[in-house]
Symmetry: C2
Subunit: 143 residues, 2 copies
């Protein structure tokens, strides 16, 4: 059993919930790549892989995946919600090209530090934060 599976199974057990075959398959598909994803494409992938797991099951699992720290909502730049891995990934931010959709991920400890100073100043307890930049990537600008 892979690391995320172990962790997630533990999380479910600790809440009296079950690590069912459906849940395992969904989790595997999510961690099979490192890309951001949305529910619909995840569903399509599972279907292509021969699974017959319903959309409802995926939608029901998402809040548990978030609560357990497996995934989180990614920076929103489209009409629907997308997710990204948390487990096994350092905190990072995004540059999103509005023309081609490419996503550049980056870290910046300076920004993180300044941000924590601000939160201290306002006596604000951070749960989570996100930073996204919309713009045009260099490839798209050439044209």
């Amino acid at each position: 059993m892979s690391e995320p599976e172990k962790q997630f199974a533990d999380f479910l057990r600790s809440k009296g919930l079950k690590f069912t075959p459906e849940r395992r398959e969904i989790l595997r598909k999510i961690f099979a790549t490192h890309e951001h994803f949305d529910v619909e494409t995840l569903f399509e992938k599972l279907k292509k892989g021969g699974e017959r797991i319903s959309l409802a099951t995926i939608y029901r699992l998402v809040p548990l995946l978030i609560e357990s720290g497996m995934i989180r909502q990614a920076t929103r730049c489209e009409g629907h919600v997308t997710y990204e891995h948390v487990f096994g990934h350092k905190l990072h931010y995004h540059l999103v090209c509005v023309r081609c959709g490419k996503i550049i991920e980056f870290r910046d400890e300076g920004i993180e530090r300044l941000l924590m100073q601000v939160c201290d100043k306002y006596d604000f307890t951070v749960i989570d934060h996100r930073l996204g930049v919309r713009g045009i990537c260099s490839a798209c600008r050439e044209e």
Copy 2:
């Protein structure tokens, strides 16, 4: 005519569009306060004010308000989209309390500077960016 009205009227004219009474009322209601808003509450406010402007008209106006630089999408923390003023407001970021919904706005030039450095490094042309922190405000933490 107030500043935002002038600007927006100019914008519309430059595109061969019209600054109708409905559009004026919507714009006025938006700039009557400094709060973030969503389409539904804006609609309710207009209705309470005696206006009978349809939801569709508001939804149709939003993209024009964004394109003209009057408003932009605010940091998303709920299921539906909210907006905030751009016109007359400096760039700022948000601390959002997930318990009481309070929003603390702040500026940080240090963060802005570091972010622009990152964008330079990736040769990325910024259109827009947003930074939001979810957490618990000090008042809510007391309890």
